[in-house]
Subunit: 142 residues, 2 copies
DNA sequence: GCATCAAGCTTGAAACAGTCAAGCTTGAAA
DNA sequence: TTTCAAGCTTGACTGTTTCAAGCTTGATGC
């Protein structure tokens, strides 16, 4: 049995479960916020990652999915008039994605909703800072 | 603009993004570990939650999904000979899910893989304990 | 200049995930 | 025993995601 001989592994398992639980709660939260604005989860993720003009590939990487998937999601956002595909200024192969005025406004509303009542609201400002530090370290390392 | 007048909100946004990033990394990690064993993410989640015999409903709750979805996933696991639907000892309506010997062995391998190279491996034991405390508080509150 | 290969994006097919409504069997309670 | 609720399954449907294939364009080497 690895259980009794390696308590460290057991602790990591438990922590892994906790992070998974939090991740799931956040996923639900994102879906709910997105639904309020008439978006799906994937669309909300795309909108959230659109911090500025970028190419399809960049967006796909930020969403950690295939470019073909990004194509699908951007299609939907474009149909809703939230995003535009423009010609890339220097690379004629690439598209430059730009949020429209409505897209930008909706993005602001989305970010507001995401913060509100988030699963992290139960932590104090100090605790949030601590958590942020740990997360940054964990993410950078991997 | 809420940005300049509310620095607190900006900090929460950043933290929210970090948690989302970690959640995504973990999702990718789970998928990769599952793929090594010939499983999908949902199948791996089900296997991970099978800490012992339980009903379909219990499993669905642990996976935080609908029972019909659990039916779908258990079907796949059953086809692979990893899990069995038995008659429930006291309630004839319910099924009792039990891992087969192969299912149990695969579960052990999965848990091992999940811990290995997890996005949390970059933290010390002490940091992991701190993180665990914060996550427990965040999850309980919401 | 031109051939070749790689990069960026799209398309179509397919699998997977997830919800919802409807239906069946069974348990529990009036 | 009648009625209602619980457990599970099925089927239809939507959304997500991946993969392979194909097109255009950029970059590299001859």
């Amino acid at each position: 049995m690895t259980t009794s001989s390696e308590p460290q592994a057991a602790a990591e398992r438990e922590l892994c479960g906790l992070v998974n639980g939090l991740a799931q709660q956040i996923a639900v939260h994102v879906r709910e916020c997105a639904a309020v604005l008439g978006l799906t989860s994937a669309q909300a993720t795309a909108l959230r990652e659109m911090t500025g003009p970028m190419t399809m590939r960049e967006l796909a990487e930020r969403m950690s999915c295939e470019p073909s998937n990004a194509t699908f999601v951007v299609d939907k956002l474009e149909k809703q008039g939230l995003i535009e595909r423009r010609a890339h200024p220097t690379d004629r192969r690439a598209k430059q994605l730009v949020l429209t005025a409505e897209g930008d406004a909706l993005r602001e509303r989305l970010l507001g909703l995401l913060v509100q009542d988030s699963p992290l609201a139960g932590l104090t400002a100090q605790q949030q800072r601590t958590l942020q530090g740990l997360l940054e370290q964990a993410i950078i390392r991997s």
